[in-house]
Amino acid sequence: MSIMIYADKIDLYSELINAGNILREAFGGDILGIVIGENNVKSIDRIRKIGLSKIITFSANELNEFNPVLYAETIKNTLEEFDVRYVLMNSSYKNKILSGLLSSFMNSALVVDVIRLNVEDNKLLAERPVYSGKASAKEEINADKAILLIKSGVFTPMTEEKTEAEIIEKLIDTSKVSLELLEFSPKVVEEGVKLDEADVVVGGGRGLRKKEDLKLLKELASILGGAWGVTRPLAADYGWAPEWIGISGASINPKLYIATGISGQPQHTSGIRGSKVIVAINMDSEAPIFKFADYGIVGDLYQIIPKLIEKLKEIKEG
């Protein structure tokens, strides 16, 4: 029996191994890693000594970009060969699709967005947010096999050095796969820091009256060394930004999130739960965002942000 770890970013294996350890302590077995795509395989030195007993690599050209059907076929054969009972992946849109396919192939249970994992009386229990992050559900797994998608940031990365993993290189026949990837255009970060990696995020919502006013967010973010982001309507409806924060967009885990002109609908707030400190600036004292805030300012963002920028500049220069 073994436990398999797959992440779509090389840095996330070290978090997943700590989730894997919970399963190994309860059920035994080895923890294996699977790494797909040339670029990731090139970086496997970073995950070679974190406690994986074997790392199975696939570096065929066709695997450089994500194709759910092809990736599922690739992993499926490995699961059979190594008698895998549990699969752990980071929770992402890509992995939701991949794990959906795999769980049907394996006849296994599947839980996404897991934020807590434990074993009681030999039963695996996973907790995850539901209803746009307004509630949490405990899910008891009633199957021999399971795939668990773990939210990033939930488990601390493994830092201890362990014995070196054995590397097993594999090939896959990609000719039979029905789904064809025609084109991939990666997200471009306009400037500065990526949303999901930033320590500070300044968010703007429909309280901003025009696109040019985004410069308020950008300026505040740049003074704080962080990223700026928006709510869905600004990105999807007005086209002011390529992506947005929330349940159907990016999840953020900064130390500080400043929400300005954002009402605080559950679809937005579900993506900001991982923030350590939340500040809200909104004109309407009844706005739901204030329930999510550590510090709230009732007032006009057009007056408050410039003042905040001015004072932070003084501090920086002084």
């Binding site: 959906g100 049907s104 746009s132 949490s136 029905s178 159907s248 130390k255 709230g296 300012i297 905040l308």
Partner: protein, 258 residues
Amino acid sequence: MVKILVGVKYSLRVENLAIDPKTKAIILDETPKKMGDMDKRALEEALRLKEKHGGEVTVLCVGPKEANKILLEVYAMGADSAFLIPTNDYLDTFSVAKIFAKFYEKNGPFDLILLGGASTDSFTGVLGARIAGLLNLPIIPFANQIVLEDLKIKAESALDDGKYKFSAPLPAVVTVTLEINEPRIPKLKDILRAKRQKINELSLSDLELDDLKVTINMTDVRAYEEKRKQIILDATDPSKIDEVVDKLINYLREEGVL
């Protein structure tokens, strides 16, 4: 001609969850419900494909009896037939996927299965892939745009790190995002016509799924208690702004986040 199967879920309105103030449990019966937001766009997309290429749109909903409300809406929008599989117990996505797969085999062939990228309430975003896995069909997830040509479906997927253009032979499963279209609003005459259309009911035994076993039990669903400090400062009076911003900066320093 395309035959399309669409899945719509009778979903909770998450903005209006009824919460027991003592236990924080969610009171499902008292929470208002609706057709899922992305599900509605899946139906709209199916109707547009039918209008362009000819064909038929069948809708399937697995849920409680009252879900027939949204199936009336489905008819008003223009679906050709609507099916309800009434279930009272909690079903995990695997069970729902098995129901879809069986329905597909019995009532098919279909050229396309169209679903929402994620349901409005549970937002797991995996049903499409689970169905595709069971039926061994290709899947294009979270599509922003769909084109059907030469028995192939081409769609653009919005995923974590960028946009992917995929092409798949039919039959295929496609799931859609909120951005794909703006769903039509039925006219009064369509709503009246819908009332005369028949909602078909099928039981699990009709689908030979009497022994359907869930792989997951939801044991405890509880509303989060917001543990934020909620320290509110009033700066509606412009003369207060200076003082309030200073206070905020001090708080953030104490928190160690500046």
